[in-house]
């Protein structure tokens, strides 16, 4: 029998031979033992014996040592295979997240990052590129030199044209070599930080060389796909089918980074971890819901991409509908991935698909013209590089949707998103119904309805607005706010969404990733909007000035219901 070798500076192996012997024989008998005297004979004895018996006796299903530890599970040794490793997404988000996870010891020691891209780099070039990236984009700067050194030792680069079959053969060999050198045990996470058009090709090639195969004892294989998942329902279905030919659904992690944000995750805790909100979280108490994703940035040099995408595909189909699903869903039975995603899917199925005549009334679109943002003059959308001067692509969309189920019937959900707005803000606002009888009519100002605002960015936090008496002899009422901000309550930095999601993918937890049926259902909601617009006359774009709150059509959409947008 092999014996553990002594470690330098530690104990001698002799310790494994203690003098104490177990007080009973360790092995269970292989044949029926004679009935001992203490064997229970009555029902009461049997019950009492079972009460004394540890509940977990017998074959354990879960590791009992895991309870209470920092993570439910330390990620397995793994190779992180990054396609599009020299691209913008990889350098702004994925690599900084990996470095931060490494720096905080949340990645396994037996870890390596394999960068794949078309550029003709060697390992040192790629490491130097990463170093520069991290100096600009790492969440905690300056870089921790010790952490960087150990991280960079685990980084390698391989040139790969996405359609080059031979390169994938070489990749398979290289990954086997990584398993040997870095003890990554055959576990591989493929991360596609590439143009969506390359997804199907990459997945097909991975399948061809067998890099999708999970064999017993040979490690797991997972694939992370960045949005957009398709261009419409049909293309999403095709993409899911293509990916599904190679990877099982349980191996696929579709990333929507909004789901990894701290406040979004807190939304579940807020709703289902507090007793006071869920009882009023329904049509009887809530007047309407507003969800806003406002950006000050424009298309940031991605004119060509945005021309084919627009605000509906870029934000409404994924971020906004995912937030809507989290706000409106029923409590899941468990916090497991599929239980959560089943409930979100039910909500998406309950959202009424807009009909053509509804689109004209319930959806407003806009495109920014020139203006001033953050004190700086900015171009209009049509003047942006790689944008058609007569473009009809929407940079703003506001929609009124209804969730037709028992809980939400009759409660409108107003969703809006836009580029080049006056302020960057993402917020979910729950507006409660007014009191049934206005008791304080003598007050100069009517108390406003209660609002619960969940801010996702910036200044993540939760705000509750309610009426309070102004100090003095009269009975004047004014709205005041109770404000919770993550910064002042915890004063610790929240992890970046990518850190959360990458760690979850390495741990095999798909709770915060979207499932194929969710994606297709969400396309089912936005496809009729896009189709209807295609059948309408050309819009009168641009219809809002950069640096404003959006087009007047959006104001009209909500004012028609006697409501108004929350000022962001």
């Amino acid at each position: 029998m092999a014996r553990p070798r002594s470690q330098p500076g530690t104990a001698e192996p002799e310790v494994v031979e203690p003098q104490v012997r177990p007080e009973t024989e360790p092995d269970l008998p292989t044949h029926p033992a004679p009935r001992p005297r203490e064997m229970p004979r009555t029902m009461r004895e049997l019950r009492m014996q079972r009460e004394r018996r540890p509940r977990t006796a017998g074959q354990p299903l879960e590791n009992p040592l895991r309870e209470g530890l920092r993570l439910e599970r330390v990620p397995d040794p793994a190779a992180f295979v990054l396609f599009g490793a020299t691209g913008d997404l990889a350098h702004r988000k994925v690599i900084p997240a990996l470095y931060q996870l490494w720096r905080t010891n949340l990645l396994p020691h037996e870890f390596c990052l394999v960068g794949l891209a078309r550029r003709d780099y060697d390992d040192d070039d790629f490491r130097a590129m990463i170093r520069t990236t991290l100096e600009d984009h790492a969440r905690i700067r300056p870089l921790d030199e010790t952490a960087w050194r150990s991280f960079s030792e685990r980084v390698v680069y391989q040139r790969l044209e996405f359609g080059d079959a031979a390169a994938y053969d070489a990749l398979a060999v290289a990954l086997d070599e990584r398993d040997r050198v870095k003890a990554t045990r055959g576990n591989r996470l493929f991360y596609l930080a590439t143009q969506p058009s390359a997804f199907a090709e990459i997945v097909g090639q991975l399948g061809r060389v067998g890099l999708d195969h999970e064999v017993h004892g040979g490690g797991w294989r997972r694939i992370v796909i960045e949005k957009p998942f398709g261009h419409d329902r049909e293309s999403a279905y095709r993409l899911n089918r293509e990916v599904g030919k190679v990877f099982r659904e349980s191996q696929i992690y579709r990333i929507d980074h909004y789901l990894g944000k701290e406040t979004v995750r807190n939304l579940l805790v807020f709703r289902f971890g507090n007793g006071i909100f869920e009882p009023i979280w329904n049509r009887r108490h809530i007047d309407h819901v507003q969800i806003t994703v406002a950006e000050t940035i424009g298309v940031e040099g991605r004119g060509q991409f945005y021309e084919e995408t627009g605000a509906v595909r870029d934000v409404l189909q994924n971020h906004l509908l995912q937030l809507l699903a989290l706000v409106a869903m029923e409590p899941p039975a468990t916090f497991e991935a599929d239980a959560l995603r089943d409930e979100k899917l039910k909500v998406l199925r309950a959202v009424a698909e807009p009909r053509e005549r509804d689109v004209a009334r319930d959806v407003a679109r806009g495109q920014y013209g020139p203006g001033w943002v953050n004190g700086v003059p900015v171009l209009g959308y049509r003047q942006e590089p790689d944008v058609d001067p007569d473009s009809e692509t929407e940079t703003y969309v506001a929609a009124r949707l209804e969730v037709e189920d028992w809980r939400w019937s009759g409660v409108p959900f107003y969703l809006r998103t836009g580029k080049r707005l006056s302020k960057r803000a993402t917020e979910i606002s729950i507006q409660f119904k007014e009191v049934p009888h206005k008791l304080f009519q003598e007050s100069v100002s009517d108390p406003e309805p209660n609002v619960l605002a969940i801010r996702i960015q910036p200044d993540e936090g939760i705000m509750l607005r309610f009426g309070a008496k102004i100090p003095g002899l009269g009975t004047e009422v004014r709205s005041v706010t109770m404000d919770f901000t993550y910064g002042s309550a915890f004063a610790v930095d929240s992890p970046d969404a990518y850190e959360t999601l990458i760690l979850d993918a390495l741990l095999g937890d798909a709770s915060l990733f979207t499932r194929a049926d969710e994606v297709e259902q969400a396309w089912g909601i936005v496809d009729p909007i896009i189709d209807s617009w295609a059948n309408m006359p050309a819009p009168d774009f641009p219809n809002y000035e950069a640096g404003t709150f959006g087009p007047p059509e959006a104001e009209a959409l909500i004012e028609r219901d006697g409501r108004r947008w929350r000022r962001i």
Partner: protein, 472 residues
Amino acid sequence: MATGRNGNAPSGGRSADLPGTRQVQGGPIAIEGAGRPGEPSLRWKSRARSIEQIEQELVRIWAQPNLTAVVEGAPGRHIAARTSVMNLVVVARRPETAQRAAATIQMLTGRHPSRTIIVSPADPDGPSWIDAQIEAHCMLPRDSAPEVCAETIFMTVGGDAGRHAAAVVAPLLVHDLPVTLWWPGNPPFRWGITDLLDLADRLVVDGSSWSENGLDRLRYLAGIASLDRIAIFDFALVRQSRWREAIASVFDHPELLAYLRHLRRVAVTYASHDQADEPLGTNVVKPVYHVAWLASRLDLGVRKALEPEPTARRAPSGRAARGLATRRGWTASLGDGRAGTGVVIRPIGSSMPGGTTLRLELLAERRGSELRVDVTAEAEIVRARVWRDGVEALDRHFQAPRRTDLNLLAEAIEAGGRDPVAQATIRCAGELAGGPIAPPLESHDAGYHGRSESQRADPRHNDGSGVASPPP
């Protein structure tokens, strides 16, 4: 240091004036430089000699309309708020303990305690007196965040009042915020702590800093844990989480998990600087926690509490027998009703601080198959190696730096509620140490250390709940 210049300092802990500040007479501190995110600055300092005066000073701090921080690019930023997180009460029986505690807490400004009260009992004879210094530190968590402030009260209490610390502390607690009681060094579990525990939601200690082998205090701590009313955070237990991560990771593998219920032996080796004539004087709280954690997670009861391993025989010449250095230690036995698990906790000469765990070994036997687990730590790496029937089955490294007192205190006061795993581990550790002893101890004259071994073992001092009662 400001207090030194005044010459009227209480004898308790102090924090040095921070760069960029200067003191004015009993009140606000004018800021000379621009505040930088993450760096606390002293903004208020004053004195008081009664609870009423302390309360008045605290009110004065927040009544100052012109307490402003000058931040680069944003002059005149008003102090936003005191943090509303918790009260921290520190009992420091020695000035140097108070000083160390204050320095640690100051680094947490803006992150945690809303109000810190550092109590130093002084001469118990004579009339009661209080000498307090009130300070406010403020910090910008980051450029874009509002500034947050925290108060610190250094209080030296003499005379009779020193014996009633709770009566002095209670009126100063921020209403409706949880109270954490941090007792650095050796908590005097046998006197004076009970009334403070009544105020507290959480008790923070460092078992690895206790004098002698620490087992007696562990019994008292387990007694407090058994009350299930107060959360306990022991730095000694938390420091070892990196070991627990590594051990747990072994059994994440389904094929190895099946062995976990068939542990036959647990051996822990710890660093010792003991002399040969005082073989078991090293603090063993950390090694005991390893065993207690495993036992509590696996529902293994303590069949036989820790007792010294039989002393090694001496050779006729009077020289120590061969192998003496590794033969002394502690043994115990665990069991779950079916089989027993032997426990050995054994010292070995090492340059590491006494009581540091050096190695943990597990032996499990299941259906004729044997599993050996060997976990070691070196610098920031914990290594777990596993052999199944003599064949290596796993070899993993975990990068896990040791945590500082600052990290641990931050974690202690960040964590909300009781950690059932920690509570169960501490209770089990108490069982291993000889059985928990319940607070309160009503008699100061016949405290725990006044009891003989036989008294401690006497079942008449046990109320039947598994927790020994204090002596009459």
